[in-house]
């Protein structure tokens, strides 16, 4: 049972633009292990939605199966959620998103759920540029089935039992960049300052926004030799700070020229990126790929907003969907009626 017990919050909580307190974004009490990275992600999602003043019921939560996929029960108790089947959440999210383009879709998955059984659907989800935020709580193992290596486990990483993973780990962020995702970020469950603005930016982004979050499994992959332990991640962290300024808020902070890049999203929101090197542009896939490969070679965990296409057009646009949500259409929108059918019959004689 986790120590993160959202229900016990300070009584006098500040309200957001909608008059909600952060407690209004709580879910039920987490049943994950004490210290599980996933709980920090839940907290970050809760805070991000609160800060961005998103009406909780306008968010739909989708997940597959795993400890990570249980997370949606632990935040946004006023949102509908769907704990679907293992590795196939991308398709469920695709269907949900076209059925009602007006809601905000938040997918939460694990590295097993996405990189192992879910790989096929994940790649095709990216390809369709479904308008959603997709967070992978990446611990390099199958927590819920007691810690086997997942497909993102790094080559040579040691498991709790002392065995070493003999396979190359799949880097979901690079894959997303290569496959054309319009928003790709990586973060660390322990880096609230970076994770929250990234989630807010992702939810403001139009199109598919992917965040790969290193989220240590304290029970099965937090051992010495595990490359995704808290210690190892902190040690190798190469974090590029991010901050998010929603539309209609003026920018407060200023940063030294060069290293900072400012990107404006389709809705007018602004993201400030503070990059490792000046010659890396967050809107270049090549730069992102090269930077990620380099970090990977040097055993670094490069976090931040890695790639962004602010002009991206989502699946709803590609499908030329009407602006009225499909799930709200009635007989008049949908049923051609008897006269048309008569003429169709005629054509079949």
């Amino acid at each position: 049972m986790s120590y993160y017990k959202p229900k016990f919050n300070h009584p006098k909580l500040p309200k957001n633009a909608l008059g909600y307190t952060v407690a209004d974004y709580d879910g039920s009490i987490s049943t994950l292990c004490a210290g599980c990275g996933h709980d920090s992600i839940s907290a970050a999602i809760r805070n991000a939605c609160f800060l961005s003043s998103i009406p909780p019921h306008r968010i739909a939560k989708l997940s597959g199966i795993g400890c990570s996929s249980k997370m949606p029960t632990y935040f946004l108790g006023r949102s509908h959620g769907f704990n679907s089947v293992h590795g196939r959440m991308p398709s469920v999210a695709t269907g949900a998103s076209v059925a009602n383009r007006d809601l905000i879709y938040l997918g939460v998955s694990g590295d097993g759920d996405t990189a192992s059984i879910g790989m096929g659907q994940f790649v095709h989800l990216i390809r369709r540029n479904v308008n959603m935020t997709y967070i992978v709580a990446n611990n390099g193992c199958y927590g819920l089935t007691k810690g086997q290596d997942s497909a993102t486990a790094d080559l040579g990483s040691f498991g709790k039992s002392g065995t070493q993973n003999p396979f190359e780990g799949i880097d979901l962020a690079s894959l997303a960049v290569l496959q054309g995702a319009s928003f790709v970020a990586r973060s660390f469950s322990g880096d609230k300052e970076q994770l929250e603005p990234l989630i807010r930016a992702a939810m403001a982004h139009r199109g598919f926004a992917f965040i790969d979050v290193v989220s240590p499994c304290v029970t099965f992959a937090n051992n010495v030799g595990s490359t995704k332990s808290y210690a190892a991640t902190r040690e190798n962290l190469e974090a590029m700070p991010v901050d998010f300024v929603p539309m209609r808020e003026e920018i407060r902070t200023q940063y030294k020229e060069g290293s900072t890049q400012t990107v404006t999203l389709h809705d007018g929101s602004i993201i400030n990126l503070h990059k490792a090197s000046t010659d890396y542009k967050a809107d270049s896939r090549e730069d992102a790929l090269v930077a990620l490969q380099a970090a990977d070679r040097s055993g670094k965990v490069l976090t931040g907003l890695l790639y962004l296409d602010p002009t991206s057009q989502d699946l709803n646009h590609t499908l030329e969907l009407a602006s009225k949500p499909l799930n709200s259409m009635g007989k008049d929108d949908l049923c051609p009626g008897s006269r048309v059918l008569k003429s169709i019959n005629e054509g079949l004689r």
Binding site: T94, G120, L321, S323, P336, N345, L348
Partner: protein, 626 residues
């Protein structure tokens, strides 16, 4: 030699090579007969290949209006040397054989119990036409012309059809008409036209067909129209024969009928998924979110969808799935027809699951049942699977015209909107307040602080709160059984027909026959044949699972009931055994699983044997494959 005779009553079969344009010429022939007002049923028997393999096209003409296959061949038109040996052999004694005589008929193939007519098709086309492709294509039109002369097909209708067909490409009309005439002339000059088997629209003893103004269409197109009229907004699919044309047709009609007049935007979404798991996932997600969504697939896809179907059953998400059946397995015979997914569909997925099935028998029913499938899925909050097959889905059938009642309102089932939620004081997603096993759904985004819940499989209680308590589990799945009981009164009831009067019956036994889908037409025909022979058989056509109680009644009222179906294991019989309480010896299987649709003659033959057989137990005869 006694030649076969018959006005408006014969079977013509074409033997071609696929990819040579034969199908459209053969269809031209069938359509002309249809336009003449003579009952006709064409069937394309094609290979799993795009070009170069043998393919057949069977056209049955039936004055009485039988639309199923009869069995046997009266006139064979063969332009495929690869298969000529089998083809000529399959002609019934007294029948006719028309072939391309550019190459003379091999002596060992000759038969003196049939009449052979050679037409130098290749030679004629080489002479008349310059373009190679035309030389190949028009060969087919030439033999249609010849058949027009041999069988008295109305020539003007053929010409009309050609001009319809080539609207936009007018310059193609004249060569085609010319080819028609070449064939017609050749036959008139060289053969005794018309043959003893021929057409005559003036003598039709199936007036009901002409009166009801039948149309000619395939089941997949009808199902697609059903989805349009039923208000489907999301179609997710992965291409697979023989279901592909369902979504093709949906797309074609949607682009015409579902474009928002003002904005030109689409009131529908079609998603070609990466595979069937994804297609079903998309349907589940869209339905969960309140849209009417469907997918169409065939056996292999059904297998891949089974995990999701189980989830939808337990999570109570509406799903509409159109299964156009073919013979199993993957790398099986994808272009052959069977009814062999019955058990796989009824019990799809691990754990205790049962799914609602619909069994359409005509394009008209494909249309009606697809519309109904969306209502049922939302009323019952569960997957509804329409079990079509290749024969019904891909072949053109004469069908009463599609009808639509403009007063129809979609039945969205028990869904609480914002106001309803405001009123409701205690609401639980899985509380059976009405006692019919059906609970009240809510959709995402409906209400700021009421009605939100977390959708899961089975570890939950009535309030949709996570629970692993045995009592909660049992209470929930027992309710699902209750819901399945309720379904019995929602699904289409079986069709019964007045028994055919039989003068002096040869048996005291009370005989009955059960069938469904494409087994229906040939079964009706077989029953009439047997009535003629003195065997009165009552019939019931199954149209849905779970079964209506009248099915139990029907079986109990009869001593022997034949279950006629197109699979090896008598799957419908098994389903009946499972769900009703029947002494097994009452149910006798009549089966065909060769991949080509069952014929009236096979059915009659199997039933005859069964009746003479001392024990009325499962008879498995080697089914005829022609």
């Amino acid at each position: 030699m006694k030649q076969l005779e018959g006005v408006n009553d014969f079977v013509v079969k074409f033997a071609n090579v696929n990819g040579t344009g034969s199908a459209s010429a053969n269809h031209l022939f069938a359509k002309a007969i249809f336009r003449m007002g003579v009952p006709v049923s064409p069937r394309n028997i094609f290979p799993s290949n795009i070009q170069g393999l043998p393919t057949w096209y069977e056209v049955r003409v039936s004055a009485k209006g039988y639309l199923g296959r009869r069995g046997g061949v009266d006139l064979m038109l063969c332009v495929n040397p690869q298969t000529m040996e089998d083809d000529i052999a399959s002609v019934g004694p007294g029948g006719y054989f028309v072939y391309d005589s550019t190459r003379p008929l091999a002596p060992h193939l000759k038969r003196d119990d049939i009449s052979c007519f050679g037409i130098p098709l290749t030679e004629m086309c080489m002479r008349e036409f310059k373009v190679a492709r035309l030389q190949q294509l028009l060969k087919n039109v030439v033999y249609v012309g010849a058949l027009a002369a041999l069988l008295d097909v109305d020539f003007s209708i053929l010409k009309d059809l050609l001009s319809d067909q080539f609207k936009g490409k007018e310059k193609l009309i004249s060569p085609n008409v010319h080819a028609l005439e070449m064939g017609y002339q050749f036959a008139k000059e060289n053969f005794p036209c018309p043959l003893p088997i021929r057409l005559d629209p003036s003598v039709i003893d199936a007036p009901h067909i002409r009166e009801s103004q039948h149309i000619l269409m395939n089941g997949n197109t009808a199902a697609a129209l059903g989805a349009i009229y039923g208000g489907a907004t999301v179609a997710a699919w992965y291409p697979i024969t023989p279901s592909t044309s369902v979504v093709d047709a949906f797309s074609k009609y949607a682009e015409r009928l579902r474009i928002d007049a003002g904005t030109g935007k689409r009131n529908f979404a079609i998603l070609q998924a990466e595979d069937e798991l994804a297609a079903m996932g998309i349907v589940v997600g869209a339905s969960w979110n309140g849209a009417r969504a469907f997918t169409a697939t065939s056996g292999p896809g059904l297998s891949l969808m089974s995990e999701f179907l189980g989830l939808a059953y337990f999570a109570e998400v509406p799903v509409v799935l159109i299964d156009v059946q073919r013979s199993g397995p993957s790398t099986g015979m994808p272009t052959r027809s069977q009814q062999s997914d019955i058990l796989a569909a009824a019990y799809a997925s691990h754990g205790d699951t049962k799914h609602v099935l619909l069994f359409p028998a005509t394009p008209r029913e494909c249309f009606d049942m697809t519309v109904q499938a969306f209502d049922l899925a939302e009323q019952l909050q569960t997957p509804v699977i329409m079990m079509s097959d290749l024969d019904l889905g891909m072949n053109d059938w004469m069908s009463p015209p599609l009808e639509w009642d403009d007063d129809y309102e979609m039945n969205r089932g028990k869904v609480l909107d914002k106001d309803a939620l405001d009123e409701a004081e205690t609401w639980g997603r899985y509380l059976d307040v009405d006692g019919d096993g059906i609970c009240y759904r809510t959709l995402p985004g409906t209400h700021p602080d009421k009605g939100a819940f977390f959708t899961r499989g089975s570890s939950k209680n009535g309030m949709a709160v996570y629970s692993e308590k045995g009592d909660d589990y049992v209470e929930n799945v027992d309710r699902l059984l209750r819901k399945f009981e309720t379904a019995k009164s929602y699904v289409p009831v079986p069709k019964v027909h007045d028994p055919i009067p039989v003068k002096k019956p040869k048996t005291k036994k009370k005989l009955g026959a059960l069938f469904f889908g494409t087994s229906a037409s040939p079964s009706y025909e077989a029953v009439e044949i047997l009535a003629e022979e003195g065997y009165p058989i009552d019939v019931m056509r199954i149209r849905a699972f779970p079964f209506h109680e009248s099915l139990d009644a029907f079986i109990h009222e009869h001593d022997t009931v034949f279950v006629i179906e197109q699979n090896r294991d008598g799957q419908m019989r098994q389903l009946i055994m499972n769900e009703c309480h029947i002494a097994p010896d009452k149910l006798t299987s009549v089966l065909n699983y060769s991949g080509t649709p069952i014929t009236a003659r096979t059915i009659a033959r199997q039933i005859r044997r069964a009746l003479n057989a001392t024990s009325a137990d499962v008879v498995k005869l080697h089914p005829e494959t022609a």
